[in-house]
C-alpha cells in the first residue's frame, strides 16, 4: 500500500456515565492512503463519528476520553497525547472535518466569506485582503454561484446544498491532506446529495486527498468508496474493498444490512429489518456485540469476543463463523 496518510491503531474511546467508564469505540485499526476514500459505515451508536472526532482531538471532555493505548498517526506523526496548541496547528490545516448539519455548523452571525477566510488567517498568516481573495477562489472552486457577491452573505441566506459547499470550501482552504466527512449529505435532498458527492470526488482528485467518509447509507458507499469499514457497537466488524463488500459480504451484520435495503432489481416481498436494537454503551456483554441479533449465532459467539481476522487479500472479518478455524 502507498504510505498511509492516516494510520489508526487500537483506538479506544470511553465515556463517563453513571459513575463508570463505558467504551464507545472498542479498539479499531484502520488506515487511509492518499487519493483513497474509506467509507466508515454503521448505524447510530456504532462509534463512527467518535472515531473521526478522535482524529481531530475533539472528543467531548470531560465526559469522554481517548484511551492512552490508542495511536492515531497522521503522516507518521502521533496525534494522541499532543497538547492542545499543537492540535490546533493541525486542525483545519493538515486535517479537516465537515459535519452533517451545515445550518448549525456555520456561525450564523459571521459572513460566509469571513468563515472561509478564517483558517487562512490563522494557519497561513494571511492578512484580510489576501485571505478574502483566497476565500473567493475556494468558493468558486466549490461552485458557489456569484461567489464574489455571496461572500458577504450569512449562512441562513443559503440553501442546504450551498451551505455544505461552503463547509467544504472552509475545510479545504488550507489544502489539508486528510478530509473527515461525517455524514455530509445525510441532511440533503437526493439530487443535491449527488452534486455534493461528485464535488468531493473532484476535489479529492485535484488535491490528492485521503478521505474518511462516514455514512449509514450504503447507496452512497457504492458511489464513492474505494474501501469500506463496517462498524458495529464500537468495533470494525468487516473491512474490504468496496466492490468485494457488495459482491460477497462475509459478516452476518453486513449481510443483514445489505439484505434490508429494498432493491430496484429484485422482487420485493417483505422488507427485512434486522431484529433487535443496537446495544447501548453500558450493555455490551462478553461475547460478540452482534450476537444477540445474529441469525447464525453459536454458543461461542455469546461467550467470546471474536478478533478481526484477515479473510483474503485486503479483507478482514470479525466473526467466529468466518476465517480460519481456531
Amino acid at each position: 500500500m502507498t504510505d498511509a496518510v492516516l494510520e489508526i491503531r487500537k483506538l479506544a474511546v470511553e465515556f463517563h456515565s453513571g459513575g463508570q467508564w463505558h467504551a464507545a469505540v472498542r479498539g479499531i485499526d484502520l488506515s487511509i492512503a492518499q487519493n483513497e476514500t474509506l467509507a466508515v459505515v454503521g448505524e447510530s451508536g456504532s462509534g463512527k463519528s467518535m472515531t473521526a472526532l478522535s482524529v481531530m482531538g475533539l472528543v467531548p471532555t470531560p465526559a469522554g476520553r481517548i484511551a492512552p493505548e490508542s495511536s492515531i498517526k497522521l503522516h507518521g506523526r502521533e496525534l494522541v497525547g499532543l497538547p492542545e496548541h499543537e492540535l490546533d496547528r493541525i486542525r483545519g490545516n493538515r486535517v479537516a472535518m465537515i459535519f452533517q448539519e451545515p445550518m448549525t455548523a456555520l456561525n450564523p452571525t459571521m459572513t460566509v466569506g469571513a468563515q472561509v477566510a478564517e483558517s487562512l488567517r490563522v494557519h497561513r498568516g494571511f492578512n484580510g485582503a489576501q485571505a478574502s481573495a483566497e476565500a473567493l477562489k475556494m468558493l468558486d472552486l466549490v461552485k458557489v454561484p456569484s461567489a464574489g457577491k455571496r461572500m458577504k452573505d450569512y449562512p441562513h441566506q443559503f440553501s442546504g446544498g450551498m451551505r455544505q459547499r461552503v463547509m467544504i470550501a472552509m475545510a479545504l482552504a488550507c489544502h489539508p491532506k486528510l478530509l473527515l466527512a461525517d455524514e455530509p449529505t445525510t441532511a440533503l435532498d437526493v439530487t443535491i446529495q449527488a452534486q455534493v458527492l461528485s464535488l468531493i470526488e473532484d476535489l479529492k482528485t485535484e488535491y490528492g486527498l485521503a478521505v474518511m467518509f462516514i455514512t449509514h447509507n450504503l447507496g452512497v458507499v457504492a458511489l464513492i468508496a474505494d474501501r469500506v469499514a463496517v462498524m458495529y457497537a464500537g468495533e470494525i466488524v468487516e473491512a474490504a474493498l468496496a466492490p468485494d463488500l457488495f459482491a460477497r459480504p462475509r459478516h452476518p451484520y453486513t449481510q443483514a444490512l445489505l439484505a434490508s435495503i429494498p432493491r430496484v432489481d429484485r422482487d420485493l416481498k417483505m422488507l427485512e429489518p434486522i431484529q433487535g436494537n443496537v446495544p447501548t454503551i453500558g450493555n455490551l456483554g462478553a461475547g460478540c456485540g452482534f450476537a444477540s441479533r445474529c441469525t447464525h449465532a453459536q454458543v461461542r459467539c455469546h461467550r467470546e469476543r471474536p478478533q478481526l481476522m484477515p479473510d483474503g487479500p485486503a479483507r478482514a472479518v470479525r466473526c467466529w463463523l468466518v476465517g480460519p478455524p481456531p
Binding site: D88, R89, I90, A105, M110, V122
Partner: protein, 314 residues
Amino acid sequence: MGEFLVRRLLLAIPTLLLSMTLIFVLARIAPGDPALVILGDQATKESLDLLRAKLGLDQPLLVQYRDFLGGILTGDLGRSLVTGKSVWSELLAVLPYTIELTLAALFLGVLFGVPLGVYAAVHRNLWPDMAARLFSLAGLSFPAFVTAILLLLVFAIQLPWLPVISAPRVDDPIDRLRNLALPAFNLGLIMTAYVTRVARSSMLNVLGEDYIRTARAKGIGGSAVLWRHALRNAMIPVATVVGLYLGTMIGNSVLTEIVFNRPGLGKLLLGALGQRDYTMLQGLMVFFAGVIVLANAATDIAYGVIDPRVRYKS
C-alpha cells in the same frame, strides 16, 4: 433594514394604546368619589363639583378616554392637583436625576455582569460558577429597598464615607458622583446579578452549538473561539433581556430613590401617593408605560442590528 425598523415601530403603537388604556382603567377603579377622598368629607358641594369638573369626572367615560388619549398625544398629562404645575414640567425637572441613575446602573451591570457570566460559563460547575450563580440568585431575590437600606447603614452611617441623603449639587461633578455612588451601586448590584445570569446562560448555550465545534475543527484556539465566535452570538440574548429588564429597573430605582432621598421620579411618585395627587400619579404611569414600550421597541431593533437573521425575516 429600513423596512424592519418601520415594521417594529408600527408594532409599538397598539401596545402603547393598550398600555394607556390599562392605566386609564386603573386610574378610575377607585371606589367611591375621588373628589371626596381628596377634599375630605368636610368639603362643600360647590368645591366638590368644581374639583370633579376639573378632573373631568363629570364627563361620560368615553369622553374622558378621548380626552385622556388626546392629551397624551399633545404632551399634556394634566396638571398636578397639589402644585398646579403641568405634570410634564414636574417630570422634566427631575428626569435628569433618574436618567443619570438608570444609566449608571445599566453601565455597572453590563460592565461587571458580562465578564462574570462569561467566566462562570467557561468554568461551568466549578466554584467560580457556583459563586456566580449564588450571587445572581441573591441579587435577584432581594428587594431593592432592603439592599438600599443595608448599604445606607453600612456605608453612610456606620462608615461615614458617603452622604446619607443624596442631594447632589448640579454644578459640582465630584459631588454628583458622591451622591450617585450608593444609589447607583444598589441598582447596579441588582443589574449585575441579572446580567450575570443571562450572560452565563447564553454563553453556555452558545458553547454547546455546532459552529463552535466547527471553529475548533478549523484549529481556532480557545480564547479566539470565545472572542470571535462565541461572544457575539452569546451577547444577542443579553442585549434583548437587558432592554426588557428596564421595567423592573424602574420599580427598583423608585425604591432606591426613596431610600436615599434622591430627587427623581421615585420621589415624585411617593409625593403623589402621599398627597393623593391622582393626576400626577396617572401622568407618571403614562410616562413609565411609554418609556417601557419604546425601550422594548428599541431593544428589538438593536437585536436586529446585532443578529442578521432577524433583519431578513420576510
